[in-house]
Amino acid sequence: MSNKILIAKDICKSFHDPITVQVLNNISFSIDKGEFISVIGKSGCGKSTLLYILSTMDTDYQGDLYIDGVIMRNKKEKELASVRNEKIGFVFQFHYLLNEFSVIKNVMLPGLKLNKYSEKEVEHRAYEKLKVLGIENEALKMPNQLSGGQKQRVAIARALINDPLIIMGDEPTGNLDKKNSEIVFNIFKELAEQFHQTLLIVTHDNEFAARTNRIIEMQDGQIIKM
């Protein structure tokens, strides 16, 4: 149990508008520490929906979700926010950097929110993360001065700032060209191998998935292979 970072038990979800459609059907699985997992499946099979449930952002589901051994049911919005802040890092298809802030400030924001380290330390840690991702030279630029690949790397740095238990990615390479996808994948790989970072990446890129440790394949709201 102690190694299980995330456990999903019988997770079901339906959309009720305009007619009831079951999107997720009895999804159960668990993630061990240090695993590099990809979730694949056709468009509309519910993989993104599952990811948002696992990330605690979507709370409208049946079944139980444990993160770090703690059940997420009946937690208040504020408590879920702090779970996301502390334990989960996100990388989305779109980078979602705040254009009003410099790159370094973007990376620092979740760290400042966590309020575990002083501002100086958070800044130092943010530099470290940027260095790992090879973009420390861009730290003081504004996000709109960066290329797409660089932006996505900043987003990864932001996901890493609080040393999360798990990084969740929703098609993180979906918007990138071949070369940048390769860079981003290598970063994930390196994080998994060198830093034993747990990663859960939703993708429709089978080539990408094939190079991860474990593949969860979904079809019509069910896991068909894992």
Binding site: S48, Y52, S55, M57, D58, E77, K78, A81, S82, R84, N85, E86, F90, F92, Q93, F94, Y96, L97, L98, N99, E100, F101, L109, P110, L112, K113, L114, N115, E119, R158, N162, D170
Partner: protein, 419 residues
């Protein structure tokens, strides 16, 4: 630390839309400026109009009403005590207009803690003789120094020097209207006839203009001793005692007390001039209503701009929430934005309001009916600045409240999936 983070995010969002922010702040500034100016101007005007009558009116006036005695001699007789007496055509006795024992009353009043000052007065009905025409008039015998100190007599003397009234024997300050009719200038000698038929000659040392024409046509002023001489009375003769109180609101109660204590009639300012208070309070009410309306309009401006900002920043809000900011944090960010617009705009508004009041105070305003007023009246009252400040914060808070709540309820999943 946590608030510092929220403040810094708010600041960045604010400066990202500097133009919009400024427009919103200018809205608040404008409304607070107008609020302050309007109220200061309106209350200045109120003071002016009230002063026209109220400043010159005693808070409590003691006098003797001319009326027949309640006890007729027959009522005092032992013999007819048990009888019903009918006395027809009863007339008041002569000399009742005088306040008995006036100097003792004045001393007692001056010793009273609630009293600012006491000014004795004599009212004398006269005719001004112009050739063979007689104009009716009233000469007020006054204590020049006290009258000036308590009722600003000096301010209404438009020609000549008011103090000559005290220093020149047998002198008179004529009402402007009366003087015009009599074609008399300063230094002229005029003749008046008293109600008893005595003729007296008086030297004109000045003109008096109250701003109320009907009064200026009739009223004139002389010193107390001159008035006593005109009437042929001893120098204890006083018909009115005017009392100014420290707190004008005490007047009705004090008037009642004096009436009993000194056995005279006493009327308080509120009873004598109730219409002025009504006018003032309604004018004040209207200016408050206009001021608050302006602020509410500015509030809608802020509401709009915040709403727009929230639509624009939907992505940012979603990612903030995804990375661990709670709905409350997001709420606080937008409330902070609204409040900073309010505080910044409000503070500027207070400054501009003060400035505009200063400008208005220097605009010439000449009107023949108000001789003492040379510029528009403004009242500087810290109360209005306080109200303006508080209102600007409250309206911007309310204007920010609903958009902020909306922002805090944004579901990050919908935004992120929508891309």
């Amino acid at each position: 630390m946590k608030y510092k983070l929220i403040a810094s995010i708010s600041k960045s969002l604010l400066f990202a839309r500097l133009k919009q922010t400024l427009v919103a702040a200018i809205g608040v500034t404008f409304s607070i400026t107008m609020f302050i100016t309007l109220l200061s101007f309106m209350s200045g005007l109120n003071d002016l109009l009230d002063g026209l009558i109220l400043n010159r009116t005693a808070h409590v006036r003691l006098y003797n009403e001319i009326k027949a005695s309640d006890l007729q001699p027959v009522d005092l007789s032992e013999k007819y005590k048990d009888h019903h007496n009918f006395v027809s055509s009863v007339k008041p006795r002569d000399g009742k207009e005088e306040i008995h024992n006036s100097s003792a009353i004045i001393h007692a009043l001056q010793a009273d803690e609630r009293v600012t000052g006491v000014a004795p007065k004599i009212m004398a009905q006269v005719f001004y003789n112009v050739g063979n025409i007689d104009l009716t008039g009233v000469i007020n015998g006054i204590d020049v120094d006290e009258e000036t100190r308590l009722f600003f007599f000096k301010n209404y003397v438009v020609g000549g020097n008011y103090i000559d009234l005290k220093n020149t024997p047998n002198s008179i300050i004529l009402g402007k209207g009366a003087a015009d009719k009599m074609l008399s200038g300063i230094g002229d000698i005029i003749q008046v006839t008293t109600s008893k038929g005595d003729r007296v000659q008086l030297k004109v040392v000045g003109f008096f203009q109250s701003g109320i024409q009907e009064i200026d046509k009739v009223q004139s002023y002389a010193s107390i001793s001159t008035a006593q001489k005109i009437l042929g009375r001893p120098n204890s003769y006083i018909t009115d005692i005017q009392v100014k109180l420290k707190n004008v609101l005490d007047a009705p109660a004090v008037a009642k007390e004096f009436q009993k204590k000194f056995n005279v009639e006493a009327v308080d300012i509120q009873t004598a001039n109730s219409q002025f208070e009504t006018g003032s309070s309604i004018r004040t009410l209207i200016s408050y209503a206009v001021g608050v309306t302006l602020l509410i309009v500015a509030g809608f401006g802020i509401y709009n701009i915040l709403n727009m900002m929230i639509y624009e920043k939907m992505d940012s809000i979603a990612i903030l929430k995804a990375t661990g900011f709670s709905g409350r944090d997001v709420n606080n960010i937008f409330i902070t934005i609204a409040l900073s617009i309010g505080i910044f705009g409000g503070a500027l508004g207070l400054l501009f309001g003060f400035g505009l009041c200063n400008v208005i105070e220097h605009i010439p305003f000449n009107t023949p009916s108000l001789p003492t007023v040379k510029t528009y009246p403004i009242q500087y009252n810290p109360k209005y600045y306080m109200i303006g400040a508080i209102f600007s914060v409250i309206t911007t808070y309310l204007a920010g409240y609903f958009p902020s709540r909306k922002a805090s309820k944004i579901d990050p999943v919908i935004i992120i999936r929508g891309k």
